[in-house]
Symmetry: C2
Subunit: 430 residues, 2 copies
């Protein structure tokens, strides 16, 4: 058996501790599969003394994570520090500069600096791998860059944030409002104290921008992702969607169309018979469509110690086997700079929920506003007045342009029929 | 850009023609992803003159497919002839003997000769790849051997035969019996003139034996797969299963338990909320469970020109990139020879459908037979007598041993209450 692959591990949170445990528990199996042992030699984290359930005495401790890059007993650095810049980025750059392979779970860093890092890795013929950065244990990076490599990929979309999926699933199952479920999830450790990256869709956008680059051979364009989170999703919407045959999910969707790149993260109504609708709780799920393979669907646990460690170690096994390849499936220099698609040109069906005054003529005003912009109505539900006297009107449009739907809503806002902020969501007809 | 990878292609049925089309249609994209062009140089098939919608004049024609192995203008042979032995096996052996890489979609050949071929490939450090042999376009070979490589895999199961899934789905959707749907599928070209390999579960068993070897690091043991097909599935079973909250699917299931290998192909009742239940029509779907990653689920088109060609070309791209590795995820010499599990020790819930005489005391006899063997009943439906006077009793047992359930049925057969052959199917509680 060949020499061991020696790992320097930066960051010992859940995932880092999981990587240490996994490499220890399955050491013999991994050595047989990888053709050589994979051993952690040095570790670094903020707090040396926290109890992580692992014996750190077996590894060299390094106070400054960025020093892992320069160690002679490290062949590959695993970066699990997190954050788009700061020590994670410094460590990543130093690792590649030192001629070492890099494995990272850091989608924020890659969304912002992935092309630079990949170009450096390519120049040095170094592996830069990040299976754990997107969809946890689902091997979606490998599926897009290798399994589907023969295909022109037109579209990739899915549920990429377990926290959001958990919150929406629990709102529906327990009939609780967003704030209650979020507070619960924070108390249970499923959501961060500052949940913004998750619930505002930023984490999903980071991941989506990486999937889009891989799928379409495009330069990462995180700034162009139209990003909407789930803070505004109300139980009323979940209920009305369900009554209409849909489930609300935070969907990240990227399409390559006519040389442009469409990227959006948004709560969307997913038809109940679509496999994404059945991916509940903390699951992640991804659909990718290739011109020859058709539609592939992947589902699994998107976060947590075990699944993420599984993805990190899969990357290490690839490196131990001598498999590297271009981080984004082709050389960075070959990636196309695709202009962002005009979101307003998007066509589709829309879900609208309007809080309206309970007086004669209201429906006529609403429907006239839609008609004036060429938007036709597929279904409409009016619910009788609540205690405060407001009624609710829920509509699903036929396929219409986003601009036209927005113009209709703007016209409605001119009158006094609509008394609250209108809710508009996209229907995922894919 | 490096020298092209030159492909000799044996077999120009749907899949072979699909590979030619795919390599032509996406040539530029594939070259960018693979780092070099991939070009078909020589082809062979039984009939040179059949119209396949592709221009064969661009390739050297070889009458005897096995001669592709010896050609100087061929770096890798793609074997799409089919059949476990005969020319496919001869070609495979000659290819590896000539020091060339082999890509095959031939599950029958691999189920019978995979270990020998893999050992030869390993000895010569040659790639032997077969993504297209299992589950068509789903990259399940890559997922098991690379994506999940860090995990001890305990179980892999799924729907691996599109013809069976199509037939069962159509029986349910159109309320047709098995023979009618099979005849239709044959007329439409979805089922072979001799459908035995598909509907008797043999094709599924071939594929399952490969997945089990990969997942568990075990030697292929096709002969030990307990194989049951779908010929005996009646519309009545589909209906009763549905009423109880299940859908009948042909499931291939492999488990690694206490050093033994459990492998079975059988029609099983899948709970409607299990993702396998929603994989309808010609789709394939696979679930694999790893100790760290948890349960992963994959779904896609399992057959047909496009998906299978996508898998073949993914293998070619890997080879062009210089990725080979052990065909079964670790050296053949490291694969464990696992003894087959004792099927009779299996425990689970069972579905029983009994045709019974319509007279007093019948239910007492049936339930006594189950009680005598310690099998308890979870639910029971009795349907009133049909025109011929027979009644139907459908039961779902609590978890019980297979031996005990079979003994109960044998006891029932001693009396005259049961007038037709009993139907017994497994419930997939996974």
């Amino acid at each position: 058996m060949s020499l061991p692959l020696r790992v320097g591990l930066a960051g010992l949170g859940n995932v880092g501790a999981g990587v240490v445990k996994l490499l220890a528990d399955n050491a013999e199996l991994i050595a047989r599969r990888a053709g050589r042992p994979i051993r952690v030699t040095a570790v670094s984290a903020r707090d040396r003394n926290r109890d992580r359930g692992i014996d750190l005495a077996r590894y060299h401790w390094v106070d400054d994570a960025t020093e892992l890059a320069g160690r002679d007993d490290v062949d590959v650095v695993v970066e699990l520090i997190g954050g788009s810049d700061g020590p994670a980025l410094t460590l990543a750059r130093r690792t590649l500069a030192a001629g070492k392979a890099l494995v990272t779970a850091n989608k924020a860093m890659l969304a912002h600096h992935g092309l630079d890092l990949a170009a450096t890795a390519e120049a040095g013929q170094l592996a830069l791998k990040y299976e754990a950065a997107v969809a946890g244990g689902i091997p979606i990076i490998k599926a897009l860059s290798e399994g589907m490599a023969a295909n022109r990929i037109a579209r990739v979309y899915g549920l990429l944030n377990g926290t959001c999926n958990y919150i929406l699933s629990r709102m529906e199952a327990e009939r609780l409002d967003f704030a209650t479920v979020l507070a619960e999830a924070q108390a249970a450790g499923y959501a961060e104290a500052d949940p913004s990256f998750d619930i505002d869709g930023i984490d999903t956008a980071h991941k989506l921008s990486l999937l889009a680059a891989l799928a379409f051979g495009a330069r990462i364009d995180f700034a162009a992702v139209a990003t909407h989170g789930i803070r505004a999703v109300e139980l009323a919407d979940i209920d009305q969607a369900r009554a209409l045959g849909f489930r609300i999910k935070l969907v990240g969707l990227a399409e390559h169309e006519d040389g442009t790149l469409f990227q959006r993260v948004h709560p969307a109504l997913v038809p109940l018979d679509h496999p994404l609708a059945a991916a509940s709780g903390a699951l992640n799920a991804v659909t990718a469509e290739g011109d020859f393979v058709g539609r592939l669907f992947f589902q699994g646990r998107g976060a947590g110690e075990g699944p993420t460690a599984s993805a990190v170690v899969a990357d290490l096994i690839d490196i131990a086997r001598g498999i590297s390849g271009n981080p984004f499936g082709m050389p960075v220099a070959s990636l196309a700079a695709l202009p962002p698609a005009a979101i307003a040109n998007r066509r589709g069906r829309y879900y609208l929920r309007l809080t309206v005054a309970d007086r004669p003529g209201v429906l006529a005003e609403l429907t006239a506003a839609l008609r004036d912009h060429g938007v036709s109505i597929e279904s409409l539900i009016q619910r009788g007045p609540a205690a405060n006297g407001d009624a609710m009107v829920v509509m699903v449009t036929h396929i219409a342009g986003e601009t036209q739907v927005l113009a209709s809503l703007a016209q409605m806002a001119q009158g006094d029929a609509v008394t609250g902020a209108p809710v508009m969501m996209h229907i995922l007809d894919l």
